[in-house]
Amino acid sequence: MLPYWEAVTTEPTQTFIGGAALFAMSGFEADENAATAAFFDFLASSDTQVLWHMETGYVPITTAAYEQAAEQGHYVEFPAAEVGIQQLSLEAGEWTRGYRMGFYVQIRDVMNREYGRILTGETSVDDAFAIIEAESNDLLARFAATQGG
C-alpha cells in the first residue's frame, strides 16, 4: 500500500494506479520545493481537476472535484464517467493495494510482444502467459536486487 498521512485519513480506501502518480524528489532547494508544492496545489484544485476529469476521462483526485462535477450535471450526461469513481471509493481489501513495479516498461514490452504473438497465432494463450510470468519475474528479481533485496 502506498504511504498515507494519518492526519488525512486513518482508513485508506483503494489506491490509485496508472498514469496519475506524480512524485516530488528529495534534494532540491526550498524555493524549488515550494514551487513544486504550488504546482501540485494547482493540479489538485477543484477547477483543474474538474477540467481534467471532463476532458480526459481520468477520475478526479478529490471528492470536492467529484461533487463539483456532479453539480455541473456531468454524470447526468455521461453516467459511465461516474462508475470508476464509485468503484475507487469502495473499501479497501487484501488485493487492492496497488503495486510498485520497477522495470515496468520492460515488463510491458514483454506483454506487448506476447500479445502480438497470440494474435498472429504464433503461440497459445497459456504459453504466452507462462513466458510473460517467467520473464516478468526475472525482471522483478532484477528490480529487487537494485533495492538490496
Binding site: G102, F103, D109, R113, G116, R117, T146, Q147, G148
Partner: protein
Amino acid sequence: MKRAAFGHIGFPILLLIPQIAIIGIFFYWPAGYAVHSSFFLQDPFGFTSTYVGMDNYTRLATSSNYLDAAKFTLIFTILVTFFALAIALLLAVKADKVIRGAKSYRTLLMWVYAIAPPVAGLMGVMLFDQSRGNITQLLGMMGIEYRLGVNYWDTASAMISVSIWKQIPVNFIFFLSGLQAIPRSVREAAMIDNRSGTARFWDITFPLLAPTGFFLLIINITYSLFDTFGIVDTIVKSEPGNNPMTLVYRVFVDGFRGGDLGGSSAQSVVLMVLVLVLTIVQFRFLERRIHYT
C-alpha cells in the same frame, strides 16, 4: 610526418586543444562511463547503484530477448549487406559501360544518399502499411497476405527492403569510382584476351574491385548495425511489440526507455568490442589486399 615540419611547440598544442577536448568529453568520458556502469546495477529511478561484477554480461548471454535481437541483427546485416552491394555493383558496372546518359544515370542513382533513414522509414511505412500500403495491395493481388507490424518476418522484410534501398547509392558511388580507376590499358588488354563480357567481369574487373568491395563490406556492416536505427524505429512506430529489433535498438529500448543503465551499458560495450574486432579485421585484410593488387 612531413620532413619539413615547423619546430614550434605551443602553437600545435593550441591547434589540437579543441579536438582533444571534444573527444575527451564527448567520446572518452561516455565510453569509459559505459564500461564502468556495465559492472553496476542501477535502479530505474537512478537512486541506487550496486556493483554486480559481470552480472550484466552473463544476463545478456542468457537472455532470450537479447539473443533473439542478436540473431535478427545477424540475418538483417547479411541480407542488407549482400543485396545493397550486389544491386549497386550491377548498376555501377552498367553505368560504367554505357556512354549515353552516363552522367544522368549517376545522378539518378546516387541522390537517395541524402535522404535521412527515418524519412526513408516513413516512406516504407506508407508503402508497406498493413491495410493501405501500395506494396501490401500489390502483394494482396498476388494472393500474399502481408501484415506489417503484426507478423515478425513481414516487418523484418520491410526493414530490410528500406535499408537496402537507402544503402544502394553509397555503394554505387564507390563501385563506380572503383571501376573508373581501372586503367584503360588494363581494360583494353582484357577486351582482346577475353571476348565474353561476363567472363571478363569475373576474371579482370571483379578482382580489381576487391579492395573497394572489401572496404564497402565493412561500411555496409556498420551501416546495418548502427545507421539503420531510424529505419527500424519508424517501421515499428517506436513500439517494438513482437516485431524484430536490432541490437542498437535494444540498447535504446532497455537503456533509454526502460531505465536500465547497467544492462544497456553492457550492451553498448558488447557493440564496441564488435566494432573494434571489425576494424582490426579491416586493417589486416586491407593491408594484405593492397600488397596483392
